[in-house]
């Protein structure tokens, strides 16, 4: 098992007039090698769920275990270490550093993983080849198309070989053809054993997953295996 949520709740600004309950009592298990889509309208709490699974935030109640580690027990440094080792992020807006080339962007996580300087570039070039961008390594993000930028981001997310790939609306900023290519890439990664969690509001995108979890008003509505 890769991720286990046990009665997880999240309340923002508790005890103040601005108190918001984003998640109530949510439980689920995601296993190694699954391709899961988390769906829900905006405001449903799926972003909060992603932040918890992504170890960017901690629950106010319940337990959130990533690869058996309770994230609430970790400090900021421990959570950073967990993200480094267990999680790769892909964002809707790519989040590439504009002043760096594609290869340099992909190399970024290796710095924090303590990979020796001499090995980084070759690793990043190989990761870029794996997402089909072998020739584009020296280009800046501004010289790449949206689909190419997202491939660079995927290569960066996977460079440290994390067990979980977490993608937040990865096709949201792309046209449908390019979006399909990215989803096909996810499919292939899953074949190779990668756990993929996709957050989306788009049912068409969610169709690509083996399992779709619907969230509404902070609660699990349906856990389907279509």
């Amino acid at each position: 098992m890769v991720i286990e949520l046990q009665g997880v709740g999240k309340i923002y600004s508790p005890g103040t007039p601005a108190e918001v309950t984003a998640l109530h009592d949510l439980s689920m298990t995601i296993k190694q090698g699954e391709f899961v889509a988390i769906m829900g309208p905006s405001g449903s709490g799926k972003s909060t769920l992603m932040n918890l699974i992504g170890c960017l935030d901690v629950p106010t109640k319940g337990r959130c275990l990533i690869d058996g580690v309770d994230i609430a027990a970790l400090d900021a440094t421990g959570r950073a270490r967990l993200r480094l080792e267990k999680l790769g992020f892909v964002f809707q807006g790519f989040h590439l550093l504009t002043r760096m080339t594609a290869v340099e962007n992909v190399m970024l996580p290796l710095v924090y993983a303590g990979v020796p300087r001499g090995e980084r570039r070759a690793m990043a070039e190989s990761a870029l080849r794996d997402v089909g961008l072998g020739e584009r390594g020296k280009h800046r993000p501004s010289e790449l198309s949206g689909g190419q930028q997202q491939r660079v981001a995927i290569a960066r997310a996977l460079i440290n070989r994390p067990p979980i790939l977490l993608a937040d609306e990865p096709t949201g900023a792309l046209d449908s053809k390019t979006g399909h290519d990215i989803l096909a890439l996810f499919k292939r990664l899953q074949m190779a054993g990668q756990t993929i969690i996709l957050i989306t509001h788009d049912p068409e995108v969610a169709k690509n997953a083996d399992r779709v979890i619907y969230i509404h008003d902070g609660a699990l509505v349906e856990d389907a295996h279509p």
């Binding site: 440094t77 960066r156 292939r188």
Partner: protein, 430 residues
């Protein structure tokens, strides 16, 4: 297919864990500084000026200090100066020597009765115009006795000192300082030549060895010496000194450790001779030159402190510039920080990155500041005729200041960056 390569292979967590390396941090800092080249240079400017100021101030301060120490050594710690009393005209007090309460009799008594005294010379002084042909110069004259040379450390380099007959007979002879020689004789040998002092023609018999600038900043070589008797008869006219009076007396003591004793004895003897009742004020002033110089010394120390304060303030201003720009830099790069946190950077790595950036700016500024400071110090020595003492300690002090400025003022922005919430940071617009 090739995708499998991503997932298979060695996983980094199997490797031996290492912290972010020193080179990585330096690389990140260089990358950020290069990306905002002009801004970095302008930010460093504050540190450049501060460090240059520190170096110049400290070098000149130390140089002045060393010069003063030399002056004290030159003066000797075995000299006493006695000045005539400060007179009182109604409520107005004159300065020391304004009443000529000291006489030839006092001098003779000190010489005869105080065994510690090795040299003693009475003086009167005044200002006058000196003329040689078409050259003239305004200077001060000193009417003095033979012991004036050893007590004040004067030597004659051209010609000779006055003879006993010159002193006793009031001969119209003069020994001039090098400044007067240069002004009136333009390099030619002045000995044996005639010059006019005031309206009286004198014969130049010698030239004093140059002493240069005094610790007080005056030109010690702009002086002419005449025998005391001559001065009384020929030059002191309008001052209307009583017969046998002198304005001041220089006393040399053979051994420096006898100075306090001699000082006390001179004081007692003069009070007795001047019939001053116990408890009444002295009509003379005894000055120990060492004390005067050390007072001056303290003033210099205070000046150094003040200059140091000015330099520190400019460093603080430079540091605030760094802090300001680093805060801007953190705000501008919130998304970058969020991303770095998402891919595994902990608070420590983010803090190090921004601290290194601040340190790089301050160190680069420090290096340029050191170069400018050395240049400025050498210029001050060359064109400002200031004594300097430029040494490795000053450079190390400046380097230390640069590092401290970067660390101190870089810490807050770096710590602020490290405490950012990764979710907020990733979501940040702009």
């Amino acid at each position: 297919m090739s995708k499998a390569q991503i997932v298979s292979g060695t996983w980094p967590q199997d490797r031996k864990r290492r912290r972010v390396g020193f080179l990585d941090i330096v690389e990140m800092a260089l990358f950020a500084v290069r990306g905002n080249w002009m801004r970095s240079v302008l930010t460093a400017l504050g540190v450049i000026i501060g460090i240059a100021a520190v170096i110049i101030m400290v070098s000149v301060g130390q140089g002045t200090q060393a010069e003063l120490d030399r002056t004290i050594a030159n003066l000797g710690s075995n000299r006493i100066e006695v000045w005539g009393g400060s007179g009182r005209m109604g409520g107005v007090r004159g300065g020391a020597g304004s009443i000529s309460s000291l006489t030839d009799g006092d001098i003779a008594a000190i010489r005869n009765e105080i065994s510690e005294v090795q040299y003693i010379a009475g003086q009167i002084r005044g200002g006058t115009q000196v003329v040689n042909a078409d050259q003239n110069w305004n200077t001060q004259w000193i009417g003095m006795q033979a012991d004036y040379f050893p007590t004040n450390g004067w030597e004659v380099i051209q010609g000779s000192v006055f003879s006993d007959r010159d002193y006793s007979g009031g001969a119209k002879v003069v020994i001039i300082g090098t400044t007067i020689r240069d002004k009136l004789f333009a390099g030619s040998d002045p000995t044996g030549q005639s010059i006019r002092v005031g309206r009286v023609p004198f014969t130049v018999v010698g030239v004093l060895k140059s002493k240069g600038q005094s610790g007080w900043g005056g030109d010690q070589d702009d002086v002419l010496l005449v025998p005391l008797e001559t001065a009384r008869r020929r030059l002191a006219g309008p001052m209307a000194l009583p017969p046998g009076a002198v304005q001041s007396v220089s006393i040399g003591v053979a051994r420096a450790k006898d100075l306090p004793v001699a000082e006390r004895q001179v004081n007692e003897l003069l009070r007795q001779r001047h019939k001053i009742a116990p408890g009444a004020e002295d009509d003379f002033t005894v000055r120990n030159l060492t004390e005067m110089v050390s007072a001056r010394n303290q003033t210099t120390r205070l000046m150094s402190l003040l200059l140091g304060a000015v330099a520190s303030i400019s460093l603080i201003v430079g540091g605030i510039g760094i802090m300001n720009i680093m805060l801007v830099s953190v705000t501008e790069r919130i998304r970058e920080i969020g991303l770095r946190m998402a891919v595994g950077a902990g608070p420590r790595e983010i803090k190090l990155q921004f601290l290194a950036e601040a340190l790089l700016i301050s160190l680069a500024g420090g290096a340029i500041g050191i170069a400018l400071g050395i240049g400025g110090t050498l210029l001050a020595a060359r064109f400002g005729a200031l004594p300097i003492d430029l040494n490795a300690e000053v450079i190390m002090l400046a380097t230390g200041f640069a590092v401290a400025t970067g660390l101190f003022f870089g810490y807050y922005p770096a710590s602020k960056a490290s405490r950012l919430d990764p979710i907020e940071a990733l979501r940040h617009q702009g």
